[in-house]
Symmetry: D2
Subunit: 303 residues, 4 copies
């Protein structure tokens, strides 16, 4: 059995050194170090890399980390929520703001501010979103898939830091199985009052299952749980394969039975994750652990 090695902090140490000293620590520290080690293997080996993104990660400031990973070729398939894409589009022309999480919400409404914990959005951002989306939502006579719709939206955005645009540029698919559950869904409703736009609710399943059938070795990083986590895992389930590497950064917990908090070991019982897979869950705020993990891995890859 390995001994715990007490961490040593040295001024000026970089993210990689910091994480490396966590390698022989218990609890979250050890798990974060394991996540970095698995991610290093995933990015340096021949793996198809899935990435799922839930939670308000773009409003919190994680957008460029995701689009950066896409542009660097570190993400092959992205599964995310409608909300993250909506906020990605807003960042193309506007801003999220930092505010008091304990401000009286009725007054915020009067002031035209919508709150996501300590991040605020002004009504003008939603006006801008409506203008932009009504301009770039496509008109199509034939029925398309959700991922095709997102590809079309990405092609109309000019901001290179955009997740949608970056995915378009790199030709990687974005799946958003609950796209109607977002401002995109509401804007589609408006758009369809006068124009044709038909998206096949099951079209993405065809595409991602085919994609899963085609992979050799695969790895997955899951930020939060929700629909993105389950959609990626269930798609692999249909095939004879399962994920070989898996990392989950989440604040949920298993005891209440929700899929978001389910352990990756539980996923092994379903056959979603291989019983031989390296996998780890870091129970912590992903706005803290994702940047560290990415900073540490990018440093390792450079060497």
């Amino acid at each position: 059995m390995e001994s715990v090695e007490q961490m040593e902090i040295v001024p000026g140490m970089d993210a990689n050194q910091l994480v490396s000293t966590m390698e022989h620590c218990g609890f979250g520290a050890g798990r974060l170090a394991e996540a970095v080690s698995i991610y290093e293997e995933m990015l340096s080996g021949e793996y198809t890399r899935f990435f799922t993104l839930a939670g308000a990660m773009v409003p919190a400031g994680m957008r460029n980390i995701i689009s950066g990973l896409i542009r660097e070729g570190h993400i092959d398939v992205l599964v995310t929520t409608g909300a993250n894409l909506v906020h990605d589009i807003i960042e193309c022309f506007g801003h999220h703001r930092l505010g008091d999480p304990e401000a009286p919400d009725a007054r915020l409404r009067e002031d035209g501010l919508s709150r996501i914990y300590d991040v605020y959005l002004g009504d003008e951002e939603f006006v801008g979103l409506e203008e932009l989306l009504q301009k770039i939502l496509p008109e199509r006579s034939e029925t398309i898939t959700g991922s095709k719709l997102l590809e079309l939206l990405g092609s109309r955005l000019t901001d290179e830091r955009s997740i949608l645009r970056s995915a378009y540029d790199r030709k990687i698919p974005i799946f958003c199985p609950a796209i109607s559950d977002s401002m995109i869904g509401l804007q589609a409703w408006l758009h369809r009052q006068t124009k044709n736009l038909s998206v096949d609710a099951f079209g993405d399943v065809d595409e991602i299952v085919e994609l899963c059938y085609g992979v050799e070795k695969s790895g997955i990083v899951m930020i939060g749980g929700g629909v993105p986590k389950n959609f990626a895992l269930q798609s692999m389930l249909v095939t004879p394969k399962s994920f070989d590497l898996a990392i989950q950064l989440t604040t949920d917990r298993p005891e209440f039975g929700g899929l978001s908090g389910a352990t990756l070991s539980e996923a092994v019982s379903w056959g979603k994750v291989s019983s031989h897979a390296r996998h780890v869950t870091v129970y912590s705020d992903a706005t803290i652990t994702l940047p560290i993990m990415v900073a540490a891995v990018l440093s390792r890859l450079q060497k």
Copy 2:
């Protein structure tokens, strides 16, 4: 200011009496009592009642509570996850089982068992699900909405305790915005290899928004968060109205910014919940708080 009144426990007290003694208590006890009081108002007044259901509530044993509320006329609109509907269908012919949450998952896979914390499902249940779904999934040349698909499925089930069947019998709509993210999605993929079935990804938005425009006073009960919570809240957001009564039973928390854990006060800043609304969040395992809340309210309504 009101004083805390120390709870008194008397042998034989019913759920309503128990909750009533919590009314002047702090923390979760007081909040649960407030939830029951709001729910009593919702069910005894002229409210359109929304109910959102996330988390593995059917596998845990909450199915008959939900279908009972539907049959009693206490739910007008249900928004839920694909998983809960899948497990609802499985209960029509098979069983979930109770198991050890710490059993080795690789061995469970060998034994053909899939685990949801301490609930197990045998592979034969999935075989049965496939047989049943391939039989009852409709073949349609025209494109339908998700809620229409669920209505058709409900019409083909004979188990009166089924949520889908109960909704069909009572003519209430079920919305499942992420339906492709479930075994129904996977079975639809299989079905569509040989048959026609086209579901409009944005069709439910049209229906629920129209429904929201039509309501006078409205109340909402949210079990867990996820897509169901947001989809119901955002639909009301488009209209000039907002929810007048709101109850949330959740184990999530606000600090990490996810919508599942967002406070109902935060929803006020968006205009989803009225600034005059009575609302409360009970932070606790819903498999405990939902039964108590329902038992207490049904007792009150009987009086």
Copy 3:
């Protein structure tokens, strides 16, 4: 393997019936039913019953549940925090009040209010506490143990619903290992400016260890974690025995390594809890689960 049985809610059902229908449910519901079953065995069999109490349970309104259990003979040893005893004393002459958990705290201070989430205490309660404690804190030339000090305090209180008084009347010991970490500690500091009072920091260890050596079969209920949980568990650890029945109602979780959230299985590895013990942890707000558990068990005992 046992099947999940879907819960049935009937208007008017009592706490015991409600919990009984949870017996074949998953997640928290099943665990709460198991806790009630273990508690029934503990109270109806020949067990020495330990009860540990952490968290602000008295301010929340749980005081009479605890003192009631003591008066009914259901607690043989109580281990608790200084804070719960302080609030127990305050309830002898004053009141806790219910308030807004989101009120601006700087203004509360100006108004002379101290906040415990949604429970407030006025400065006059602290003035009253000081007057009372300075009157009843004993003057002693010899060094006494902490439990002796608490017995002396209990003997001076006249409120029969008091935990301290109830324990005195029933001659059961209260251990409060961190007594200096409370207003009692601060008042002792004041008292000792002019009077003699010496409490032996290790005196309680002698007493509780001797007590543990003397028990045959034993059971423990732990509300929250903290010092009370550990002190009771470690005391049994020294003896050749271990707890035969154990129930934990907590909101903490194991992944972060704190003792409060540690599983009872972990306690088995230490030898604190027997490997043959029936034990269960209910992860939920104890202000909700404690009243239900007690109500259900008292009903069962009456039969």
Copy 4:
């Protein structure tokens, strides 16, 4: 209002740069950046620095971070749990080990292993602890305070990385109000079967209150909650002063009313923390956030 600035990750960035890019982010990232900023002010200004330590931080590998801070002069008063001191002593001669958090606990007991989540301790470490403590526990005819006892223990340890030894060398006091609730308490019980050792349960209150009266400006870092957090806060409460800077790294949450999860804003209502204080709570695993915070601050101080 300030805009959210999307984080930029650059390979090779050091801990300080990483945290600096979090400064304009939401949720945990922004709070961690604020914690580092407050800590920088605390360590570079004229503050008396309190540090409270709960949770199994030494077993997890955080021991040298704490003793390093002491040796560098960054801690003036340490308040901690008995457990952390016990594990500090064990590290003087033995080792903690890393193990599977899901191993069967009954088998671990048979193998002589005690588990703290994923950290194991062998029985031989407890034998070594007993030998060492029985040798270095002092024999005294007069009654001493708890902090004096810890000073004496520290003087007998030779390991310079020890927290106890480092505090002794730097002449800073360690308070451990619940010292009897630990292996030290149990070893004291054994020791006192044959030798004199009397510790005054209220002696530390006299010392820390006097110390609090003497400070000018003060800051506090709280790792976890528990007795250490409350003991430090209540001691300042007695004086006309309050903490001017406060940082809390915790996984607890406020809704359940426990002091461990109480917000620092709540502490303002008590007068423990100044209404003008800079304060922040980072809700995350401290084995992750403490190393980053310390690494970032030490880099800043070097400049």
